[in-house]
């Protein structure tokens, strides 16, 4: 039991962060606007969660300009992918063990 809980990563406790990781797991890159649409959160809220994931090295940020407007794209890192997969496996095991 304890071991499953160890694999549940603290960073994914927040619903918004879990959402960001889920979306990035199946999309090569997503920009800020797209993430905002999917998650239905405010700019500030999303930005702070993205910062937190960036700090964990779970996502990478690529800044560029599209039509002279700043465009920020997010990519899941290998480390992030691994952590996310472990998190899902842990969730599954926890659910199964409680059945």
């Amino acid at each position: 039991m304890k071991t499953f809980l160890d694999d549940l990563h603290k960073a994914f406790e927040s619903r918004v962060r879990l959402g960001i990781m889920s979306a990035l797991a199946v999309n090569e890159t997503l920009d800020f606007t797209a993430l905002k649409e999917y998650l239905d959160v405010t700019d500030g809220n999303l930005a702070s969660h993205l910062k937190a994931l960036e700090k964990e090295n779970f996502i990478d940020v690529k800044k560029s300009f599209v039509d002279r407007k700043p465009n920020t794209k997010y990519i899941m890192t290998k480390q992030g992918k691994k952590a996310f997969e472990e998190h899902i496996t842990a969730l599954e095991k926890l659910i199964r063990s409680q059945k």
């Binding site: 979306a23 997503l30 999917y38």
Partner: protein, 208 residues
Amino acid sequence: MKSEEKYIKDITEIRSMMERSTKFLSLSGLSGIMAGIYALVGAYVAYRLFYVDNGSLLYNIIDRQEMTREVENLIILALVILVLAIGTAIILSLKKSKKDGEKIWNSAARRVVINMAIPLVAGGIFILILLSKGLFGFLAPATLLFYGLALVNASKFTFEEIKSLGIVQIILGLLASYFIEYGLLFWALGFGLMHIVYGIVMHLKYEK
């Protein structure tokens, strides 16, 4: 246990986010039904205008001069059906996306459009070339084939049923090119009947 509910909810949300961010799910079954009806009406008009007039055979290499007018009318008819079908699909998708609280022009929608556009544009150009060479009979098989390929190609980014619809269209397209005298019939089956059948299935499955 309270935590168990939370874990299940987490998994459900992961799944829903993965689906919503990769699949265009605002497609309405009703637009399929409407497209099918337009196609059947169009096929009937084409049958009356072109098949009855000159016996039946549109598929031989026909003198260009003689056929230009009829072909122009046929192209106009095809374009009218196309615009009506796409217009209806856009309007109904807009309504559905509003109801579901989704943005219609999201990255999944863009992927569907791009993946459909590549086979369709190639097919469109190919068909114009066929017409310019007087190979009118291949109009129906070629539209079925390229449309089927477009559906299979785009199906990864929308409802999975679209893939089997695409395969059905490809099969009908191949049959239509072999039994070329029944081209219009196969076309009516593919664009008319199959759209209506799939439209009803999708409507019952996802919009009830």
